[in-house]
Each structure stands twice: as structure tokens, then as C-alpha cells.
């Protein structure tokens, strides 16, 4: 649920990075944080375990610039990917405006990817959202590893409806900003439609 503030002349939107454990959601945010000018970002907050697995969420506030005199601000969140943190994932999805599904391209994570998309669909539906109506993009991450499925295979499994999708190596930043821009654009386009 975006928040339009006429007083501050800004619009706030919430984006959520979803995907199986260790697929690289937190790494996406870390890269964005490192590569963004200080005046365009706030502090990045990570509620993580001692082994750096996301426990509740990561949070990064970003400003993307102005549209017609309104500042566009995006709040980026990641969910904890580990299966047993499902209750927390549901909470993070509340009020979401756009979703990035980060898939782990490694062949052995095929099952985990499929389970995670299904889980996303279920958790959104519980709150009355439909994944097919929400601004949504897919990122095939870890393309640098040797044992990865082909993009065609991944697309067949994870993107049957042909939404924008991107290959990425989050660790080095490949595809990270392309993914972010694509979903931000979809969110703004949706606002325009509903406006």
C-alpha cells in the first residue's frame, strides 16, 4: 500500500524481495546500499542470526528522484527465506506494492525455488492479494556458479506468464539495479493506473 504525502510532497512504496533461503536477497540489498549515494539512502537494517541468515527482515530506504514535484521513496525489504520462518514472511508482505522473486539458479535448488513461489502465492492470497495482479519481477541469481539450470528451464518453471525477468550475480552486482528499476517502474505504472 503506497503512501502519498501531499504535505511532504512524497510518495512511499514498499518492495519485498522474496525467495528461498540463501538465494541472495540480502546480498541484493547490500549491493544496492553500497552503490547508492549517501543522500539517496537511509541506514540499512538487518535483523539477522549470528550466522547472517535473515531472522525477520532487512530494510533499506531509498529515494529514486522526483516525478512532477513528488519525491519517490522506496522501502526495500527482504524476507527470511528459511522455510520455518513462514510467520515472519507473512508479516513482511503486509502492505506490499511490488515483489521481486529471487531464484537460486543452482540445479539443486530447483525444488526450493518452486516451493518458495508457491509459498509466496499462498501468503499473498491470505491477505487478499493475487501474485498475477501485483507488480512482480523475477531474478535468476547466482549465474556465476557452474551448476546452474539454463534460463529457459528456469523461466519455464518460475515465469510462465512472461513477466520481466533478469539474470543476476548479486555478489558482484550484475543485474541488481536492472531488477530494482523494473519493479519500481511497474509500481509507478500501477499507481498511475489507479490514480
Amino acid at each position: 500500500m503506497s503512501f502519498i504525502n501531499y504535505m511532504a510532497r512524497e510518495i512511499n512504496c514498499k518492495l519485498v524481495y522474496y525467495g528461498p533461503g540463501l538465494c541472495g536477497k540480502t546480498t541484493n540489498l547490500q549491493y544496492i546500499y553500497e552503490r547508492t549515494n549517501p543522500e539517496a539512502k537511509g541506514k540499512m537494517i538487518s535483523l539477522a542470526t549470528e550466522t547472517e541468515r535473515t531472522l525477520f527482515f532487512d530494510f533499506l530506504p531509498l529515494s529514486l528522484g522526483e516525478i512532477r514535484g513528488f519525491k519517490t521513496r522506496f522501502h526495500l525489504y527482504t524476507v527470511p527465506g528459511q522455510v520455518f520462518y513462514d510467520a515472519s514472511r507473512k508479516l513482511i508482505l503486509k502492505g506490499v506494492d511490488g515483489v521481486i522473486f529471487v531464484a537460486d539458479s543452482q540445479i539443486e535448488r530447483t525444488e526450493a525455488n518452486l516451493e518458495s513461489v508457491e509459498n509466496l502465492r499462498t501468503n499473498l492470497a491470505e491477505q487478499g492479494y493475487s501474485l498475477d495482479k501485483l507488480p512482480y519481477v523475477v531474478q535468476y541469481n547466482k549465474r556465476d556458479l557452474p551448476n546452474v539450470a539454463s534460463v529457459e528451464e528456469l523461466r519455464g518453471m518460475l515465469n510462465p506468464t512472461n513477466i520481466p525477468d533478469f539474470e543476476a550475480v548479486a555478489r558482484t552486482g550484475v543485474g541488481v539495479f536492472d531488477t530494482l528499476k523494473a519493479v519500481a517502474k511497474l509500481v509507478l505504472t500501477e499507481l498511475k493506473k489507479n490514480g
Partner: protein, 160 residues
């Protein structure tokens, strides 16, 4: 859309700001702020240059979401009030009208009793303001600045 759009207009903003400004004084608080349940900061007052209100807003909403989740498991209504006592700073969190969160940060110059009392009154006022805001937002013809934007405007945002 599933969720009614959260919107803030100048008139209501000024009313809300008046309430939080007064609460800072009446409760002898360091900082008072209001966050929506999704973690977006709505208004703040007091010594706000020395705290990261954006981060606090997101964490407060996460906290309320988590305790709300616990409440649900216990078949309880939301826990509307929370209090955390630190060595120097204390934090009082109050859910207002199940929609926004009122946070008061205070130290030994104030007391929990005083904060509770002032928060109660402020909550009632805020509740009324947010109710009328919600009505206004749901009126047909409430215009959005985004109805007018073009695809080019959106593209331009990403062209640098």
C-alpha cells in the same frame, strides 16, 4: 486496489503535527512519532535530529506486526500497548485505531504514569483525525498526482 491508499493532506497533517508537538511538551518526552502499520513515518516531533526516525519507524512497525502475530496465535486482540524500559531511554508504543502507531521516547525527566495519561488523550484525538482522513480518501474523485504522469516521466526517473 485491495488496500485503501494511505494519503496525507496538508489539513490533517497540520492537525496531527499539533497533537504530537503538544504530546512532546505535555509528556516531557524526548521524541514522539507516528508510523503507519507498514512502517512509514507520518509525523515526528521533539529531538528528532538525534534519532534515525526512518529506521525506528520500520522497526516499530515490525515489532507491532510481530506482537500482532503472537496475539493472533493466542486468539487475543492486538496488544495495543507496549512499554520497553531501558537504562536511560524508555519507549512507549501505542496502537491507535488499529491503523497507526504512536511512539513516545522519554527519559527520567518524565514517568510512565504521565506518558500513559497523555498518550491516552492524544490517541483519542488522533483516532478522530485518522477517521476523517480515511473518509476523505475514500471519497470518489479524490485525485492522485499520479493519474497525470506519463510513461516518459517514469522512464526519465531511471535515465541517469
Amino acid at each position: 486496489m485491495i488496500n485503501p491508499q494511505m494519503v496525507m493532506y496538508e489539513e490533517e497533517f497540520n492537525q496531527i503535527q499539533t497533537v504530537v508537538d503538544r504530546l512532546v511538551r505535555d509528556a516531557n518526552a524526548k521524541v514522539v512519532f507516528i508510523v503507519d502499520k507498514n512502517g512509514q513515518l507520518i509525523a515526528a516531533s521533539g529531538d528528532i535530529d538525534n534519532v534515525d526516525t526512518t529506521s525506528l519507524a520500520s522497526l516499530t512497525a515490525g515489532n507491532i506486526a510481530a506482537t500482532g502475530g503472537m496475539a493472533k496465535l493466542l486468539k487475543e486482540n492486538e496488544f495495543a500497548t507496549q512499554f520497553h524500559e531501558g537504562e536511560k531511554a524508555n519507549i512507549h508504543i501505542q496502537l491507535v485505531g488499529n491503523r497507526v502507531i504512536l511512539v513516545v521516547i522519554f527519559d527520567s525527566r518524565s514517568s510512565l504514569g504521565l506518558v500513559r495519561l497523555r498518550v491516552k488523550k492524544a490517541s483519542e484525538e488522533l483516532n478522530l483525525i485518522f477517521e476523517s482522513l480515511l473518509k476523505k480518501v475514500q471519497e470518489p474523485g479524490a485525485d492522485s498526482p499520479f493519474a497525470e504522469i506519463t510513461d516518459d516521466d517514469i522512464d526519465n526517473l531511471f535515465n541517469d
